[in-house]
Symmetry: none
DNA sequence: GTGGTCTAGACCACG
DNA sequence: GTGGTCTAGACCACC
């Protein structure tokens, strides 16, 4: 399984779970229509509380990434259902702005910033080159 | 004052404060040697508890951004004090990776990602162009 | 418990606590993966305020000595997490320099200084010989 | 002047002053009978509050390093007056123990510890070799 | 006046 | 249950 949960991280487990699944979709490991384990099953696999899985699923569903089926697993939605909208773009711009501000403070040049950003993207699409 | 605190945000106040100050340094509104208000003064200005300000200052101090003086407030350090190190680069790469993953998922192309990232940086250095 | 807090000392309680825990790791009484009490439990044990313990834990976490878990207490990290870096070596050299200066002033010879330093180290690794 | 005061340091100024003077004695820059400026003069030289100088002098006097003359300067005492006693040895052993504990934790070997300690001493007696 | 420490009590997110 | 955040008020060292 490509899901990686770090129980010692300060990032909430349900957030890590969401990020793992989003990362899975981004890298193509999870495709449209693919099935995710049921809450109960997933909880057992990861030795995690059911409520935690449930919370992650609920939020992924809200964001359009998955459809949850009662008592069954969850299905990855079609990309159209979670295409970037204005709201998302605004949130992401804000997050990038924070990162860019600290980078600029710490002496990262525009060229370095460019490289770091593009590397982060390329790593997802062409992992073999990393 | 350019500090903006959103008391309804889920982001802790002391984190918002840290980010505001880092943003101020990045945009050149806060320069080396410049003074920050005393914790009591700042607390009164923002209608926030003294200890919350103190926590933000303590963490900025640990990261090298400011020096806390004995009988004055706090001073912005020289850029050398908080230059990027390996640890910081790793943390930032991880954060960017998360953002890039969601962007890719949501159909942001490499060109769009490039634009968004560079805009975030440019906005800090050339605000007049925004 | 091997933790000793002197409420009358001028050394802040949270610093004493940090030193006690570092001492515990150094002497092998606290090993990787070992659990530390929860902040509430520890506070009750030592008759100290919760927040004081919390501050010590937070700083030990920042320095890499422990990981604070979500629903457990804190765990001692692997030694790699807190291996000496340049910054630490600089700080320690400064501290030793102060001690050496006073020792030299007070007529401690190089041989005596050598003995005192090595005793301090040996006391941690071979307590039976003391 | 060999006195170095860092107004941004978290170490109290009067402690820095004491350390500077002790360092001066250790390195031979201040010899028995040599005169230190008056409190008033010193305060003016360093742009520091008189009370701060006074506090440093008082403590140095208590420890036997200097003799303070009313309305005049202070004289460095004879080495015999501040030779190491049992109490001092105990305090120093404790301080070294703390440093050694952290060093051991952080993977400093006995050989490295030896080198670092002896370097700190040698730096005072043979500065030219550094 | 300043920041730092300690205590106390409340609320919240997480699991 | 856990730790994290915020508020509040007190005391202290430093300058």
């Amino acid at each position: 399984m490509f899901i990686q949960i770090d129980m010692t991280s300060e990032i909430p487990i349900y957030v890590q779970l969401k990020q793992s699944i989003i990362m899975g979709i981004a890298t193509g490991q999870l495709k449209q229509g693919e099935e995710l384990p049921s809450v109960r099953q997933f909880a057992a696999d990861l030795s995690i509380n059911m409520h935690t899985i449930s919370k992650a699923y609920a939020q992924l569903k809200d964001q359009g990434f998955i459809s949850v089926h009662r008592n069954k697993g969850a299905l990855i939605n079609a990309p159209e259902q979670y295409a970037a909208d204005e709201k998302y773009l605004g949130v992401m711009a804000g997050a990038l702005s924070e990162l860019a501000a600290e980078a600029l403070c710490r002496g990262i040049s525009e060229e370095q910033w460019h490289k770091i950003c593009m590397d982060a993207y390329a790593q997802l699409t062409k992992p073999e080159e990393i």
